[in-house]
């Protein structure tokens, strides 16, 4: 296994754990549930962007994507908490 493949495999395992965590937190009460599932979704998307799509090799671009992702998640959390 090459170092690049090892990194991808570690990313995949982290994604599986985060996906499992997303399904397990549905027992939380509403405000915490919204924050937990959206934080986990953000972590998963960040891993896909930086590792699967290779944005870790372009840190400035990665930061740009990270800001847009964070803005989306903040809007989604605000709308979810307001409901």
């Amino acid at each position: 296994m090459t170092p690049a493949t090892r990194t991808l495999t570690r990313c995949w395992i982290a994604l599986l754990l985060l996906a499992a965590a997303s399904t397990l937190v549905i027992g939380l009460s509403p405000p915490w549930l919204s924050l937990a599932v959206l934080t986990l979704a953000g972590a998963k998307d960040w891993l896909i962007l930086t590792r699967y799509l290779g944005l870790s090799a372009a840190p400035r671009m990665a930061r740009g994507f990270g800001v847009v992702l964070a803005l989306f998640l903040i809007c989604a959390a605000a709308l979810a908490l307001a409901a």
Binding site: L15, A20, L33, I48, L55, A57
Partner: protein
């Protein structure tokens, strides 16, 4: 390489496509959440008819297929044609598993007498997940095509599209199924 010279990895056109698709789905998901403000109880009741565990399993299926596509890109760069085709073939297979679970979900809702006309929740659910499923199908065709071409550039572009499908589902799953 300086910061000014920093370039996006892969094909710029594919990144434009990824950004535009993320913008479309992002707007759809925020519209869904905004609409929910008008009827939170109705949305919660409608959501209770969805199979959350099945959707969670589908998340694992998609991230695993994404990993296989990413590994196939590494194999393409190393000139390992058999490995790249095996990786992409398995990724396509998992795409088919995802669609099968999705069809079962629609069939279960249909069996309960639920359609997109039953509630605004189902209209958005079916529009967002149906549009996403269409992208999964398109991604499967694209991965099959680039597996045939087997060049690093083609495999990178096909895998990037597949990762975009992953990115969208990872946001769609919590918003539609969990919140």
């Amino acid at each position: 390489m300086t910061a000014r010279q920093e370039a996006l990895p892969g094909d710029l056109k594919m990144w434009v496509l990824i950004l535009s698709e993320l913008a479309v789905f992002g707007a759809g998901l925020l519209a869904f959440l905004a609409l929910r403000l008008g009827d939170p109880a109705g949305f919660a009741e409608a959501q209770s008819h969805l199979h959350r565990l099945g959707a969670g399993v589908n998340t694992m299926v998609l991230v695993t297929s994404g990993w296989l596509a990413a590994v196939a890109v590494e194999a393409a760069r190393a000139g390992q044609r058999w490995h790249l085709r095996a990786g992409l073939g398995l990724a396509v297979l998992l795409g088919a598993v995802f669609l099968t679970l999705k069809i079962q979900e629609y069939a279960a809702l249909w069996a309960q007498g639920i359609s997109f006309e039953s509630h605004a929740f189902y209209l958005f659910h079916m529009l967002l997940t149906g549009f996403h499923a269409a992208h999964v199908l398109a991604g499967m065709v694209l991965l099959a095509l680039v597996a045939g071409l087997a060049t690093p550039r083609a495999v990178e572009a096909g895998a990037a599209f597949w990762h975009m499908v992953d990115l969208v589902w990872v946001l769609l799953f919590p918003v539609v199924y969990l919140l």
